[in-house]
């Protein structure tokens, strides 16, 4: 690995982690689409600030972008408050306007400035290591790494310091307000974080992929855990892992690094959706199948229990009669009987099915658990 490669991966990790941290709260607060709106709208802030300072690395850009992000959120809320449009439409109305103004400004003055839309929208991580940060003439690493590392660190500090407030405002805004923590202040704190992170990251990964890195890792982590702390940790890990995997995929296929990172992060989400231990689709299907068999076995046990030691037991409890009495097809009946035999709940005495002691217990248990009170025998 060349040092440029190491630098790129470090920057990618810094970007991914910095995005994932505030992203957790966006996902939990159901405001994921605000990150989409903000990351588009800050283009205007970046352009305007660039007109003034003419330097893409200026900290002034971050201030301007943060201001635009807050402006976006404030405009959305203003529209909301008129009650003329619903919240989703308000978001959908605001950011295209700000973004359009940004794009038009860039196009109109494209000749005069060194800033093009593709760069803002798409970013280019491959060039990031060559813009070095120097202190007193000493090369201390790529600028982007310091920038995103710094933003990531600030995000972490904010979350650690305001953990209680963020948690409260996220899960019970009413209680937070009653206890004197203004949900509005917390809300805007988060929005400033999102804006600053987005503007720091756009250079490397572009403003749209920021959204992928902000939403996908927390959404994947959300599938894996119920604990806020763990969700934050998992998000950061998933983000960082996707960053590295994305880089290597891009390196091997010679494709866009940022796009590749976004794709991997998407794949990570779908793996989580499919394979998450409790909530994943596969786990759900397996649970449902197991419940279906458990239920069938319990039905069989109850059936046998009801007719045990009665005159009609000879016909009711015959293996080949289950199809009539329980309305099962033969295949299913065979499978259920086999499974119940293997679990030692019933015995097959030359075609006549008998409950074992355990089977009898199971039948009683099932009757008590499932029969509505009043119909119990």
């Amino acid at each position: 690995m060349s040092s440029a490669q190491i630098d790129i991966q470090l920057i990618a990790i810094a970007v991914a982690v910095a995005c994932a941290l505030p992203g957790v709260f966006l996902v939990l607060r159901r405001m994921a689409l605000l990150s989409d709106a903000i990351s588009h709208a800050i283009l205007l802030g970046i352009v305007l600030a660039f007109f003034v300072v003419e330097d893409l690395a200026s900290p002034f850009l971050i201030v301007a972008a943060a201001a635009t992000g807050v402006l976006t959120v404030a405009l959305v809320e203003l529209l909301n408050r008129t009650r003329l449009v619903k919240e989703d439409a308000a978001i959908g109305l605001v950011f295209p306007v700000l973004f359009s103004i940004g794009v038009i400004l860039i196009s109109r003055f494209a000749g005069d400035i060194h800033l093009d839309t593709d760069a803002v929208l798409l970013g280019e991580l491959a060039f990031a290591p060559f813009d070095r940060f120097e202190i007193l003439g000493m090369d201390v690493g790529p600028k982007a790494l310091w920038l995103m590392g710094g933003i990531g660190l600030i995000n972490l500090i904010v979350i650690v310091v305001f953990f209680k407030e963020l948690k409260l405002a996220t899960f019970d805004a009413g209680l937070a307000a009653a206890l004197g923590f203004s949900p509005t202040v917390i809300h805007y704190l988060l929005m400033v974080q999102i804006s600053v992170t987005a503007v720091g990251a756009f250079d490397a990964v572009g403003s749209i992929l920021v959204v992928a890195l902000m939403i996908a890792p927390p959404a994947a982590a959300y599938m894996l855990t119920d604990s806020l702390k763990r969700m934050i940790a998992y998000s950061a890990l998933i983000g960082a892992g996707s960053a590295i995997a994305g880089y290597w995929a891009a390196h091997m296929l010679d494709i866009s690094i940022a796009g590749s990172m976004a794709t991997v992060v998407g794949v990570a989400f779908f793996l989580a959706v499919l394979l998450a231990p409790h909530r994943g689709i596969v786990a759900k299907l397996r649970r449902r199948t197991r419940q279906r068999w458990d239920f069938a076995i319990a039905m069989l046990a109850i059936h046998l229990f009801n007719h045990e030691d009665t005159p009609e037991a000879d016909t009711e409890c015959r293996r080949d009669h289950l199809t009539d009495h329980l309305n099962w097809d033969e295949n299913l009946a065979d499978q259920v009987v086999d499974l119940a035999t293997r679990r030692e709940l019933i015995r097959d005495e030359s075609g006549l099915l008998k409950l074992t002691d355990r089977g009898r217990e199971r039948a009683k248990e099932a009757i008590v658990n499932w029969m509505p009170a009043g119909t119990r025998m």
Binding site: V27, R30, M31, A32, L33, S35, D36, H40, T82, L84, V85, K86, D88, A89, I91, G92, L93, P96, V97, F99, S100, I101, V103, I104, S107, R108, A110, T117, D118, L121, L122, G206, I208, L209, V210, V211, A212, I215, A216, A219, Y222, M223, A250, L253, D254, I255, S256, A258, G259, S260, M261, A262, T263, V265, G266, F269, V273, R279, I281, K284
Partner: protein, 378 residues
């Protein structure tokens, strides 16, 4: 720029005519179908669909090597459709909420689109393939075969919209009722979403994937302000969309370095602002003016009644009363003078001597009517 010259060019200039027609088409179709997205609170679905279309466009080109609009549109539509179905599936089957699912799908698909684009651009045969114009749209590159394709797809979408009007209306306002009537609402939902996908795909080449969502949301949001009827809203929305499309295309073609997509978006946003301010009954400025007028009316009525009261208390009913007296009786003394002026103009009061006022016969009977309306008789 001269309006006549613009009109002349619109008719005779091939490029401008094509561009304007294309933009009008996209505005009409996305406006009409966007109405349903906005009413169903799915505004951001348009954003998701248009972003997810990008990999479809790139893959369609990569696989077929063709730049035919129908091929690229089919790819875009397929990708947009898959993206939407994934969102629906994730929302229905996992704890992940709609906003996260939408935001993630749009960003991840877009990222994947960039991956494919970066791959395509390395192919020696492809050159740049002109695919990057799909980011922000490039109306000036529209050709008549593009417009014909847009027209075909749009026409089919509108015809289906008309045929399933009743079902879509049900879906938008009371899907449970629809289920109880025996409609397959799940199917209706997917059909409507498919039409939305078609509407968005039509506009991608002109407006671009990033901003196409605005063409879904904005015309409908503007139209919503003017009416409470679905049919009127859809028609108005289509009209606004077309208007913004044409004006945006014209403006951007007459000024250098003005990309079409953003210009159209600013046009439609101007229509939204105008509607939100001035639409009757809902518009902010309209309501503000209405409130102001009502306040003034109440104020004038109260001065009228005060004069009536004074007349009743004096033996000489015709005896004039001073402005100061009326001001003392009023809750808003500063406005009394203006109210008196208005009463004089309407022939209800007279200024007998300077600053001394009395009711006319007409004013007297008007006051009696007012009191009767209020349930009090004098």
């Amino acid at each position: 720029m001269d309006l006549l010259a613009v009109l002349n060019d619109l008719v005779y200039d091939y490029t401008l005519r094509t561009v304007a027609l294309g933009s009008a088409l996209l505005g009409t179709v996305s406006g009409a179908l966007g109405s349903f997205a906005v009413l169903r609170r799915q505004s951001m679905l348009g954003d998701a669909i248009s972003h997810t279309a990008l990999p479809g466009i790139a893959l369609a080109f990569l696989i077929t090597g063709s730049r035919l609009p129908l091929v690229l549109m089919a790819g875009a539509a397929l990708a947009g459709w898959i993206g939407t179905l994934i969102v629906m599936y994730v929302v229905r089957n996992t704890r992940v909420k709609q906003d996260s699912a939408l935001g993630m799908i749009l960003a991840v698909f877009f990222g994947f689109g960039l991956v494919v684009l970066s791959y395509v651009q390395r192919l020696p045969s492809a050159g740049k393939a002109g695919l990057d114009k799909f980011l922000f749209g490039q109306a000036s590159a529209l050709m008549s075969r593009d417009v014909w394709t847009m027209f075909g797809v749009g026409l089919i979408a509108i015809i289906i919209l008309v045929l399933f009007w009743k079902e879509f209306k049900l879906l938008s306002f009371d899907p449970e009722y629809g289920v109880s009537l025996g409609f397959k609402m799940r199917f209706v939902d997917i059909l409507l979403t498919t039409l939305l996908v078609a509407a968005i795909v039509i506009g991608l080449q002109t407006v671009g994937v990033v901003l196409m969502s605005a063409m879904v949301v904005a015309p409908a949001a503007a139209a919503r302000q003017w009416t409470d009827r679905l049919g009127v809203m859809v028609a108005l929305s289509a009209l606004f969309g077309a208007l913004a499309g044409i004006s945006g295309a014209v403006i951007s073609s007459f000024m250098a370095n003005l990309p079409t997509g953003p210009t159209i978006v600013l046009c439609i946003s101007a229509i939204v602002v105008f509607s939100m301010l001035l639409a009757p009954n809902r518009g902010l400025a309209y309501n503000w003016l209405r409130t102001l007028r009502r306040k003034r009316q109440i104020q004038t009525d109260s001065v009228l009644l005060d004069l009536h009261e004074l007349a009743a208390q004096h033996e000489d009913h015709r005896r004039p009363h001073s402005t100061a007296t009326l001001q003392a009786m009023s809750r808003n003394p500063a406005a009394v003078a203006r109210s008196l002026q208005e009463l004089v103009e309407r022939g209800l009061a007279l200024e007998e001597k300077p600053e001394l006022w009395t009711l006319t016969d007409q004013g007297e009977s008007e006051a009696v009517v007012k009191l009767q309306d209020m349930g009090r008789t004098s």
